[in-house]
């Protein structure tokens, strides 16, 4: 069965309003009953937090300001144009660091694995604009006027 990963990122409050969360283990694909209701869940999950494959496996700091516990959570299934979609979120230190919509298309005549590690490799962490690791900002075309105050200008200046 083909599995397309469509990453869905939204504001934290937007996601919370739409879904309630259940703890899950990626490897087993099973869901457990402990549901996390919105951001007010203060208790840690009964099992150790499970992080999805491409987050940095740092599970040591799951004490947070008392909102979302660290780990990976799977929401309810939602019907979309691609078929049923489940949203999976990763929480670290009380913040949603990653959210992905996992899509399972219903047509099976194409039995192809979609490899999302192909070049260009996609890295999907939402990071702050001040990060020095970005080489380029891609946005709707910048004009000369907008450039001087832009993040790109600051990046370029470091190397001029």
């Amino acid at each position: 069965m083909r599995r397309i990963v469509v990453a869905v990122m939204s504001t934290i409050s937007g996601l919370v309003l739409l879904f309630s969360y259940h703890t899950s283990t990626n490897q087993l694909g099973e869901t457990e009953a402990a549901s996390v209701q919105s951001r007010s869940a203060a208790s840690a999950p009964a099992d150790p937090p499970v992080t999805s494959d491409d987050t940095a496996g740092d599970t040591s700091s799951d004490s947070s300001s008392g909102t979302l516990a660290s780990g990976t959570f799977t929401g309810d299934s939602v019907a979309t144009r691609w078929g049923p979609v489940q949203v999976e979120i990763t929480v670290k230190n009380g913040k949603i660091t990653k959210s992905e919509a996992i899509v399972y298309p219903t047509e099976n005549h194409r039995d192809v694995e979609i490899n999302d590690n192909a070049l260009p490799i996609l890295s999907d962490e939402t990071i702050q604009a001040q990060s020095a690791q970005i080489d380029f900002v891609s946005g709707a075309t910048v004009t000369s006027d907008g450039y001087t105050q832009s993040l790109q200008s600051a990046i370029d200046q470091a190397f001029q």
């Binding site: 979609i114 999302d116 260009p120 690791q133 080489d135 450039y147």
Partner: protein, 278 residues
């Protein structure tokens, strides 16, 4: 003891060309040398030349003279015919959502290849810089050309560093929504944020004024730009629409769409050739 590895030397030259800031970045040992500077200038010169030929803002450009009927296509330099041919292919590949014959308001349709020329010219400039560097014997340098947020990149070593692009939040231009690592090819973003509603729906003639943006990345900056522009004009459902474009999946393109409502959707690239969409 762990020693910090210093970042490789890097040089950026930024100039205003085609009405936007164009930055050429070179990274690696020797990047700050004078030979590299010369190679960079070669690339920039190529962009200025493309601007002279294709700018619709210059009354003496070949494209303007073509539009006024002073020249025929065959009387222009061969690159004009080449670009027009690419525009035809772009129209076909996007089922008409990329269009280069634009109504000038009086019912006359004028040729305007601007939407395709930028990506085409930037790719050409990247090649020029890389070839010039290789001509100097400098084969280990990474190069990138960034024209106002549309970027074409080259990585010298298979196991070297990629370039990292951040996709701007169209609602807050100081914020990055997502990052894309690129070792080759390009990334382009289309939207209304910087210049207001300048993208036109080719079927209605109306300017597309919605919020959000479409970013496409993959093996060719030119095609990424064509796809992004067409998809932004297309609007709701454009992510699925992109996935169905000929070659989009099989050639390894990916996309990030920020909807007008502010939701960010991403279609990761596939490296496995897919059978045609039925």
């Amino acid at each position: 003891m762990i020693e910090a590895v210093p970042p490789p030397p890097r040089r950026a030259v930024v100039e205003q060309i085609m009405g936007m800031p164009v930055g050429v970045h070179v990274r690696g040992d020797g990047a700050r040398g004078t030979d590299v500077e010369a190679a960079i200038q070669l690339g920039l010169a190529g962009l200025r030349e493309a601007d002279a030929v294709f700018s619709t803002w210059r009354s003496d450009s070949a494209i303007e003279r073509l539009r006024r009927g002073e020249l025929t296509v065959t009387q222009c330099s061969p690159e004009v015919a080449a670009v027009i041919e690419l525009c035809d292919a772009a129209r076909e590949r996007t089922a008409g959502w990329f269009e280069y014959l634009i109504d000038d308001g009086s019912g006359t349709r004028l040729i305007d290849p601007t939407g395709l020329v930028k990506g085409w010219a930037v790719e050409r400039a990247l090649t020029a810089v890389v070839v010039a560097l290789e001509g100097q014997g400098a084969t280990g340098l990474d190069v990138a050309v960034n024209a106002g947020g549309d970027v074409a990149v080259h990585r010298a070593a298979v196991d070297g560093r990629s370039w990292l692009a951040g996709i701007e939040d169209p609602a807050d231009r100081s914020r990055i929504l997502a990052t894309v690592e690129l070792a080759s090819g390009g990334i382009a973003t289309s939207g209304s944020a910087a210049r207001g509603a300048h993208i036109v729906n080719p079927f209605t003639g109306e300017r597309v004024a919605r919020g959000g943006s479409v970013t496409v990345y993959g093996p060719s900056l030119m095609w990424a730009d064509v796809f992004a522009t067409a998809a932004f004009a297309y609007g709701d459902g454009c992510l699925e629409w992109l996935a169905e474009r000929p070659g989009f999946r099989s050639e390894g393109y990916g996309a990030v769409v920020v909807t007008a409502a502010g939701l960010t959707l991403r279609l990761a690239p596939s490296c496995t050739p897919l059978p045609p969409v039925l």
